[in-house]
């Protein structure tokens, strides 16, 4: 009966292969065909990729969405992770009420993205929303605007809402990183005369690198997969005027709501492959670099 042990990984392996690996692998294959959704057409090689990058309006849409994904990543790194690290540092230095603060920061993370989307849509409503009302009350009427209807502010508004959602989780990761620093290392540095900022830059940040790297990868993956919030708030067209479009929303549009009978499934799959390579290569590279550094420790 010793062979029975080989059955242990089997259920996980079968389900994972069938519902994760196989669909992704098929998407790779589909990207090489001219495909209309009902029947797979002729093999076209890399034609879908060439179309995606060179033919209007596909190429414009692609670069437009990619730019937004990059912007997403940059803003989240600065705003979400910057603030989260600051808050983690405050709690690490034993601020009073830290139990309550942790719960408060984490609360938004519990809401479904669909709830967050509609909640903020109501708050940002140009006529009756709470934000414009507050601005009016504190004498900043001229700042009030239709945040989500204005192409200049819509994307930033959505990314900031995403930051609001993600700060609590990022804070917990950073806090776990800070708390894993051995006390005696800090003590030794203090005896050597390190204080304040010097201590932060020379000691704490470098020792927190594992947590920072993990959060950077998470943020990157999240930024390049950004879909739910945009879809919940601005629909599948990335309104207004594609100003909030992301690669995943563009992909969804091609796969499910291309409209006007467009034949874009092969093209959509090509986009999925590109997105997969962006996310996959960056996270693989960063994991590799992280491992290497761990060895040096």
């Amino acid at each position: 009966m010793r062979w029975l042990i080989h059955l242990f990984p089997l259920p996980a392996l079968v389900i994972y292969t069938l519902f994760v690996v196989y669909p992704i692998f098929s998407a790779f294959l589909y990207s090489l065909y001219d495909w209309n959704g009902i029947k797979r057409g002729v093999f076209v090689g890399l034609q879908n990729f060439i179309t995606l990058f060179t033919v209007e309006p596909f190429n414009e849409m692609f670069w437009n969405a990619l730019r937004h994904n990059v912007f997403y990543f940059v803003v989240e790194m600065i705003v979400q992770n910057g603030i989260a690290f600051g808050l983690a540092f405050l709690i690490y230095r034993k601020i009073r009420g830290s139990g309550f603060l942790k719960i408060a920061y984490f609360m938004p993370r519990l809401l479904s993205v669909i709830v967050i989307g509609f909640l903020w849509k109501l708050i940002l409503n140009p006529n009756y929303g709470a934000l414009n009302t507050v601005l009016g009350k504190i004498g900043l009427e001229e700042w009030a605007r239709p945040w989500l209807g204005d192409p200049d502010t819509a994307l930033l508004a959505i990314i900031l809402i995403n930051c609001w959602f993600g700060i609590g989780f990022a804070m917990l990761i950073f806090l776990a990183g800070l708390q894993s620093i051995p006390e005696d290392l800090i003590e030794a540095a203090r005896l050597d005369g390190a204080t304040g900022w010097r201590m932060l830059w020379k000691m704490i940040l470098p020792l927190c690198m594992p947590a920072i790297t993990i959060m950077t990868i998470f943020t990157f993956i999240q930024a390049f997969e950004a879909f739910e919030l945009v879809y919940a708030m601005q629909g599948s067209m990335g309104e207004p005027f594609y100003s909030t479009d992301t690669l995943a929303v563009y992909f969804y549009r091609m796969a499910f709501s291309s409209g006007a009978g467009d034949v874009t499934l092969g093209l959509g799959s090509a986009l999925a492959v590109v997105l997969f390579f962006i996310v996959g290569s960056v996270s693989a590279l960063s994991l590799y670099l992280m491992r290497k550094r761990e060895v040096q420790h």
Partner: protein, 274 residues
């Protein structure tokens, strides 16, 4: 580390301002759900003058919330159960035995951490159609189970490896089979890691709306997030009803969290920073 008095004051102000930013929209959501539409427009920021659950009564008639709630509970509980059992079995195998293929198998599972599964949605849709699982809660359970396996195997394998091998050897000398070692000796020891896996996957399954949006058409089979989505489309002018809908969708999760906030927060980070 010592802080100056000024530094300490600034720290407190910042820390509590951000707590306010995090909580205020949620408080606003709940308090608005208890107001009438008139009151929301007239004084959107103040607390409700009169406490009234009328909106919730209206909401209960507008959507089959009890159905949505049951669907969410069933899908999340089933997915979490399957993920935990299957991942623990796989992780036990991967961490306790070294056959020629265990390294490769581990790698195969871990690759899934980097796969954005949404990108396979078109083939996945066709697969579910062929399996006759469209419009079935099992389509969701299978997809959440499958996509939850990589992170869970990763966390559990790491945890199994930290357990001393002597424990098992002792158990084997006492005559335990593989299964008994796994079930009686090791599983109870990895309880913290199991909690992490359960929490991560529970939050994900409970809040997801992408897959039910695509796989579930029938009203009575919708989970809370997609079920409520219909409401948000149909009653665009009835703000108090919308806020009540949002509150009701968020409430179960908030209640669970407040009851077990420690495990939630520790669980979510336990696997991430080692």
């Amino acid at each position: 580390m010592k802080m100056t008095v000024g530094g300490r004051a600034v720290s407190y102000v910042l820390a509590y301002i951000f707590a306010l930013i995090a909580l205020y929209p949620i408080v606003l959501m709940i308090s608005s759900s208890l107001k009438t539409n008139m009151e929301i427009f007239a004084s959107p920021l103040s607390l409700p003058k009169t406490f009234s659950l009328d909106t919730y009564k209206k909401l209960w008639e507008a959507v089959p919330f009890a159905d949505f709630l049951w669907n969410s509970v069933f899908v999340s509980a089933m997915s979490v159960l399957l993920i935990t059992v299957f991942s623990a079995m796989a992780a036990f195998y991967l961490s306790r035995f070294s056959f020629k293929w265990t390294g490769g198998l581990y790698f195969f599972f871990i690759v899934g951490l980097m796969i954005p599964i949404k990108l396979g949605i078109v083939p996945l849709f066709l697969l579910m159609k062929n399996l006759g699982l469209l419009n079935s809660l099992w389509s969701l359970i299978l997809i959440y189970t499958a996509s939850g396996i990589p992170i869970s195997v990763f966390i559990l394998t790491g945890f199994f490896r930290t357990l001393p091998i002597e424990l098992e050897e002792a158990a084997r000398i006492d005559g335990c089979s593989h299964f008994q070692v796994f079930w009686r000796v090791l599983l109870p020891l990895i309880r913290p890691a199991l909690a992490t896996v359960i929490i991560i996957n529970f939050i994900h399954a409970w809040n997801d709306f992408f897959f039910p949006l695509i796989f579930i058409q029938e009203e009575a089979l919708k989970t809370i997030p997609v079920g409520m989505m219909v409401l948000f489309g149909e009653y665009e002018t009835d703000w108090s009803l919308l806020f009540a809908g949002l509150t009701l969708s968020a409430l179960p999760m908030i209640v669970v969290f407040l009851m077990a906030s420690r495990q939630f927060m520790e669980g979510l980070t336990a696997g991430a920073v080692k």
